[in-house]
Amino acid sequence: MWFQVRIVLICFMFGGVALSRPQTATIARLPRASRAEIVARARAIANHSWTCGSSNLNASCSRKYRSDWKVGQRVTGVPYRWGGSDTPEQFDKKLAEGLAAGAHSQYGILSCAAGVDCSGFVTQAWGLPAGHAYSTSNLRQIAGKPKYNWYTDMKPGDVLNLPGSHVVLFTGYNPDGTINVCEAAGSKGRVVCHAATWSRFVKYIPLQYKGIDE
């Protein structure tokens, strides 16, 4: 019902710095998303269940590939694939086509594998179309760094980003001082939502998606 002011933003494939010029007159339209929608999308990816088939254990384009999974294993969460940005639907389709379920960075970006990496997951949660226009290095083109106190003022849908390394989606604070995050975690092999301590996020910066619909 609400008229949405579409903000047009520069989307260089790689860059690393926010431009100082206004970004409204440039190329891409940034989809609008409410915080509830972002969190719901993130949880849907984290809660997506799939079963690993025998054909999904191998990557046809990589000899050294080793799968995290076993045949018949029921897994919750779209698997981690470095350079990947598959939606759950795209992942299921690729899985059915016999592509490998997930791939870590040590194998390079594998076109013969399916899954999503940390920035692919976050941008998908924000509602950006599939593809990998934004990495942890240039997320700041589409997300601003708020001046708030992130120990108290983050809002669900914001992210914690270590440029060039990793990004997690913030979903809430816990009374015990931990925070809830969702992330495509290489260490867990898939997208998961869990509690985390602040000590993990030293040198991270908070970012807020510029297309947020408050």
């Binding site: 019902m1 609400w2 008229f3 002011v5 903000i7 710095v17 926010a18 431009l19 100082s20 010029r21 206004p22 970004q23 409204t24 409410s34 915080r35 509830a36 700041r140 601003g144 760094k145 708020p146 001046k147 708030y148 106190n149 992130w150 120990y151 108290t152 003022d153 809002k155 669900p156 849908g157 604070y173 910066i205 908070p206 807020q208 510029k210 297309g211 947020i212 619909d213 408050e214």
Partner: protein, 661 residues
């Protein structure tokens, strides 16, 4: 005064907030002129920047604050010729609570003299804390966060808006030429009272505020104090928004400070705050759509960091019409008193003086007047460039004026001086009969009283011994004129069908009792305001709250620049929480809905309260409202022959809120 709490599906993630909207969108009427004054004012600046906080496990670091104050310091000491020794910077550990307050007192308040130019810049975190003044509806006051705040022992607090306000008032007593720049989150209402925001705040009860210094005039600390209206208050974001850090030139900056310093560096001679802030707000919001810097306080067309008396004549923006290539769109409408037939001289963009040797490029005549803009035809000259500046030369009087009776004019030099000033305003007509007036000015007991037509008091009486009495009364009259003009905008011929209903949680139909002794609702009662589009086309919706204290606020949409559309058959419901301001027992609000086939931006209409009188005076609007709502009040603002009546409409409802006990 009414507070709207927005309850939409995503409100669990948003802060509930009041509908107050700062007047950051450029109002269509401008001022410009020369800087008079024969003395050289002293220039003082205090720049505070905090990246790293003492209790870093509680307050996250920032990256751009020190860069901000370095940029600002460099700018002030070069282009704006602030003596370096007069620019005091407090960085990180220097910027403790005590340190900041002491520096404001010793470096600014103690040194400033009448006419001096003072700049205070803060770049760091902003937050909230428990309000101890009783003025904040939310119980929370907005704050800036000093280096040592939020200590585990609970001894050091943020610097609250109330504390800053007190210091500002003291500064006002010394010089009115003060620019406050707050590059922090939620700074939008910091120096004049904050609003609801649902972030975790410092919920400890802070100590009582320090008493103001002996130089502080009593009775000048109320929110909306007119002295503060002479300040330039530049905030990074509205009270509900986050400010952002901007990475550019290889380092982080506050987005506001980055674009503000860039804009100031490129500003030409005679740049006004509006010249600068138009660019700043555009750049910041273009890069960070959720951040809306604003300029409040002073007339926006004073010179940047110049003296406070540099106002000259009014102008409007004129640009080639997008509707008709032969016409010119002038950014002045009914609300500003524009009338069909009036003649304007159009000058080139950027013109500051509208007299010889400057020559107009064209003369135009208004041929149609809408609520906020007009279309004009070219009478002579050439088609103007976009963003040209138009000055009214001949006013065609219609029925648009607020008609003002000045009672006892002959015996009151103050009233005579007020009349001289008011005569130049197109939307005010001085009349000599009480039966013709909408408003009155009268000198009684050496005080100028601003009265409604029925002689009830509208604004706080002002002593004729006050050196600024003329300006203050003129300010009151102008603000009330705008209020009445906005109230009077209506269009009964529109083909837009809009249904607007109010329903209370305890009162099924608050409207049913209007005009009866038991009319109104008790404070705290929730009111559902529902607008339904019964037309066959999409309409854009905006809602104003015209309160009986003279304030005008945008209730909906609450985000500046956002244009909300209501589809055919759809309903829009907003839940409003009512309250009665401290010191009063009853308050009347008019909720006025504007609907149009085109987007509407009502933010230029917003204004703060004009009065701060208590219940010793009967609510003056009771009578006015009944007249206004029944269509008998004589300040019609619709010259019917020139407006496309089918494209817009208004609906309004009255809400009386009474204190519970």
């Amino acid at each position: 005064m009414l507070v709207a709490i927005l309850c939409v599906s995503i409100c669990t993630l948003n802060s509930a907030s009041a509908p107050r909207v700062s007047v950051s969108a450029a109002p269509p009427v401008f001022r410009s002129g020369a800087v008079p004054g024969s003395t050289v004012p002293k220039k003082l600046a205090l720049l505070v920047g905090i990246n790293h906080y003492l209790h870093e496990d509680r307050i996250s670091p920032l990256a751009g604050s020190i860069n901000d104050i370095e940029d600002m310091r460099q700018l002030l000491t070069t282009k704006f010729e602030f003596p370096p020794e007069n620019v005091l910077t407090l960085k990180d550990s220097e910027a403790t609570h005590a340190g900041i307050v002491a520096a404001i007192q010793s470096h600014l308040i103690a040194k400033a003299q009448a006419g001096d130019i003072v700049v205070f810049h803060y770049s760091g975190h902003g937050s909230q804390m428990r309000d101890i003044t009783g003025r904040q509806i939310s119980g929370l006051d907005e704050t800036i966060v000093p280096y040592d705040s939020r200590d585990p022992e609970g001894k050091i607090f943020d610097i609250s808006g109330a504390e800053l306000h007190t210091l500002l008032v003291q500064l006002t007593a010394k010089t009115r030429n003060v620019t406050f720049i707050l590059d922090s989150c939620h700074s939008g209402t910091l120096v004049r009272g904050g609003r609801v925001r649902s972030i975790p705040a410092d919920t400890r009860t802070p100590p009582p505020l320090p008493q103001a210094g002996s130089s502080l005039s009593r009775g000048t600390t109320s929110v909306g104090d007119e002295k503060l209206s002479s300040f330039a208050f530049i905030s990074a974001a509205t009270s509900r928004e986050s400010a952002f850090e901007h990475f550019a030139d290889g380092k982080d900056h506050g987005a506001l400070t980055y674009f503000l310093t860039r804009q100031l560096r490129s500003a030409g001679a005679g740049a006004t705050y509006r010249d600068v802030m138009d660019g700043v707000t555009g750049n910041v919001t273009a890069n960070y759509p959720a951040q809306h810097p604003s300029l409040e306080g002073i007339e926006a067309d004073q010179f940047v960091f110049g003296d406070g008396n540099s106002l000259a004549r009014t102008y409007a923006i004129a640009s080639p019409s997008v509707l008709d290539s032969r016409r010119v769109t002038v950014s002045i409408g009914q609300v500003q008193g524009a009338t069909v037939g009036s003649l304007y001289d159009v000058y080139s963009p950027g013109t500051k003086r509208f007299a010889a040797p400057e020559k107009p490029v064209a003369r135009v005549q208004l041929v149609s007047v809408d609520a906020l803009s007009s279309e004009a035809s070219l009478v002579s000259g050439t088609k103007p460039l976009p963003a040209s500046r138009a000055v009214e030369r001949e006013h065609r009087y219609g029925r648009l004026q607020m008609r003002l009776l000045m009672d006892g004019l002959e015996s009151s030099p103050t009233l005579q001086a007020i009349k001289t000033t008011l005569q130049s305003l197109p939307f005010i007509e001085i009349v000599d009969k009480a039966s013709l007036c909408n408003m009155q000015l009268k000198e009684t007991g050496r005080k100028i009283q601003t009265l409604a037509a029925d002689s009830t008091t509208l604004s706080t009486p002002i002593s004729v011994d006050d050196p600024s009495a003329v300006n203050r009364v003129v300010g009151q009259v102008k603000a009330w004129a705008k209020w009445f003009n906005v109230l009077s905008i209506n269009n009964s011929h529109s083909d837009i069908e809009l249904q607007f209903t109010l329903q209370g949680s305890q009162t099924r139909d608050p409207m049913a009792r209007v005009g009866r002794p038991d009319m109104g609702v008790k404070e705290g009662e929730k009111i559902d305001a529902t607008i339904k589009n019964n037309s066959e086309r999409d309409v854009y919706i905006a809602v104003l709250d015209l309160s009986s204290d003279g304030s005008i606020s945008v209730v909906y949409p609450t985000e500046q620049g956002v244009k909300e559309v209501l589809r055919p058959g759809m309903k829009l419901t907003r839940t409003l929480t009512t309250f009665v301001p401290k010191g009063r027992s009853v308050v009347t609000d008019i909720l006025k809905v504007f609907a149009s086939y085109k987007p509407i931006d009502l933010s230029p209409l917003a204004q703060e309260g004009i009065r701060s009188i208590g219940d010793d005076v009967t609510d003056p609007l009771a009578g006015l409202l009944s007249e206004a709502t029944s269509g008998t009040r004589g300040v019609s603002a619709v010259p019917s022959r020139t407006i496309d009546l089918g494209t817009w409409t208004t609906v309004q409802r009255v809400l009386v809120v009474k204190r519970s006990n």
